[in-house]
C-alpha cells in the first residue's frame, strides 16, 4: 500500500501526561499562561501552521462538536486575536472528516464541507484517503480516534505540545502501550513560552 498523504496527530499534553483536566476541561492545560507566560501564542501559532499544511481535518465526534461549537464565528469576532481569527478561517475552509455512527449531515451546520464516516468503515476509508495525493490529513484533539488509528498503523506523525504545568488529574493522553515505536523528528521551543513541541515519526510495522 503506497500512501501519498501523511496523517499527522497534533495534540497538547500536560507535563504529567494529561490530555485534558478534570471535567474534560482542556483549558486546564493552558491556564498557566496567564501567570507565567502571559504573551504565549505558541500553541495557536503551531495549530495554524499545521492547518496551512493540511487539506483535510479528521476528527472524532467529541472534538468535532467542540470545535464546531467554538470556531465558526471567531473569524468575524473583532475581539479575537488575529491568530485566532486565522485559525477560525482555516478551520472553516478546510475539508472535514468526522468519524461517527450517529451524527447527521444536518448536524454539521454550519460546517457543510464535512464528510461523515461510520466507524466500521473508518480504517478502510482513511487508508483510501491517504492513498490520494495532496496535503496532510490533520487531527486535533480526537484522542479516542487517534489511539485507535495509531494501534492500526494509520498514523504517520505524532506532534505533542508539552505544556509546563502539572495538573494532577484528568484524562491521560495514552491509555495503553501502542504497538508502534516512535522516533523523534525534532523539538521546538519559544522565547515567550514554556511549551516544548516534540514531533515523533511513528515507525510503521512490517507487514
Amino acid at each position: 500500500m503506497n500512501y501519498m498523504k501523511k496523517l499527522i496527530v497534533s495534540n497538547a499534553m500536560s507535563l504529567d501526561g494529561y490530555y485534558e483536566g478534570p471535567g474534560k476541561d482542556v483549558m486546564a492545560l493552558f491556564d498557566y499562561r496567564w501567570e507565567t507566560y502571559p504573551t504565549d501564542e505558541s500553541f495557536d501559532a503551531y495549530n495554524a501552521e499545521r492547518l496551512r499544511a493540511a487539506d483535510t481535518l479528521l476528527l472524532g465526534r467529541t472534538s468535532f462538536d467542540g470545535f464546531k461549537g467554538y470556531w465558526p464565528s471567531v473569524a468575524d469576532d473583532p475581539a479575537a486575536r488575529p491568530l485566532e481569527r486565522e485559525i477560525s478561517r482555516l478551520n472553516n475552509a478546510i475539508d472535514k472528516v468526522v468519524i461517527s455512527d450517529r451524527l447527521t449531515s444536518e448536524e454539521t451546520e454550519p460546517w457543510h464541507n464535512t464528510r461523515i464516516l461510520h466507524r466500521a468503515d473508518a480504517h478502510e476509508q482513511i487508508a483510501e484517503l491517504k492513498r490520494q495525493s495532496g496535503k496532510d490529513i490533520l487531527m486535533f484533539g480526537s484522542r479516542t480516534l487517534w489511539s485507535d488509528l495509531l494501534a492500526n498503523d494509520l498514523v504517520d506523525e505524532l506532534h505533542l505540545m508539552l505544556t509546563p504545568v502539572v495538573i494532577g488529574a484528568g484524562t491521560p493522553i495514552f491509555d495503553a502501550r501502542p504497538p508502534a515505536s516512535l522516533r523523534l523528528i525534532d523539538t521546538r521551543t519559544w522565547d515567550s513560552s514554556g511549551n516544548v513541541l516534540m514531533r515523533y515519526a511513528v515507525n510503521r510495522r512490517k507487514k
Partner: protein, 196 residues
C-alpha cells in the same frame, strides 16, 4: 544555599519505574524494567556527565539507595561516576533502615522536610541531586523543596507503572529553562517551579 535537583528518566506517559533493568523494581507486577537502556547513547552520557560534575551530594529514597549501595562500591576503580558517587555525601531517607553503610552516608529517619531544608541551607553553590527515588520526590514536591527538575523524556509509552507525578499532586506551573535532545530520541527538559 544549595539547589535541590530531581533528575529522572520518564516515558512519554510519565512512568519512572525501573528504567535500568528488569529486576530493579517489579512492584505492582511491573514487567517493563530496563525500558530506558535502548535509548542511553553517547549524547546522554555527555549530558549526564555534566549534571553529575555539578553534584555535591545525593539525596535518595531507600530503594534507590539500596540499588546504588549494592552497585557503585563494586564499580571499576576508574569509573568516573563510581568515583564521584562513592566519595560524595549520601543522604538516605528511610524509616525502616537501621544503618547506611555505603561510604559517607547519613540516614534521615524523621522530620524529612525540615532535614532536607537544612541540607539545602548548608553553604555551597552545588547541587543536591535526587535520582530515581519516586516516593521521596513526591514528598519533596508536596513540601515545595524542589528547585529544579531534569526530565529525560524517552520515546516510549508503557501504559502502566509508577509515575513521577502521581495523581492528585497539587497543580503547579513551571518555567522551562533548558531543552536538549539526544541522537536516540530522548528529550532532556529542565524546569523550575514558578512559585518562588
Amino acid at each position: 544555599m544549595r539547589k535541590l535537583v530531581v533528575g529522572t528518566f520518564l516515558t512519554l506517559d510519565g512512568v519512572m519505574q525501573a528504567p535500568g533493568g528488569p529486576q530493579e523494581d517489579t512492584e505492582g507486577g511491573f514487567k517493563h524494567g530496563g525500558w530506558q537502556m535502548p535509548y542511553f547513547d553517547e549524547d546522554s552520557g555527555e549530558i549526564m556527565n555534566k549534571n553529575i560534575a555539578a553534584t555535591e551530594a545525593l539525596l535518595l529514597g531507600r530503594k534507590t539507595y539500596q540499588i546504588f549501595a549494592a552497585y557503585w562500591p563494586t564499580a571499576p576503580a576508574d569509573d568516573p561516576f563510581g568515583q564521584k558517587f562513592n566519595s560524595i555525601p549520601k543522604y538516605v531517607v528511610s524509616t525502616t533502615l537501621d544503618k547506611a553503610e555505603w561510604n559517607n552516608s547519613t540516614l534521615i529517619r524523621s522530620n524529612i522536610p525540615e532535614e532536607v531544608a537544612r541540607l539545602k541551607q548548608q553553604p555551597g553553590s552545588g547541587i543536591i541531586s535526587v535520582t530515581g527515588s519516586g516516593k521521596l520526590a513526591q514528598t519533596l514536591m508536596k513540601h515545595n523543596l524542589i528547585d529544579e527538575y531534569v526530565l529525560w523524556i524517552n520515546p516510549i509509552v508503557l501504559g502502566s507503572g509508577k509515575r513521577l507525578f502521581e495523581n492528585e499532586v497539587a497543580p503547579s506551573n513551571l518555567k522551562l529553562v533548558d531543552s536538549k535532545t539526544t541522537g536516540s530520541s530522548v528529550v532532556v527538559l529542565t524546569y523550575q517551579p514558578d512559585n518562588k
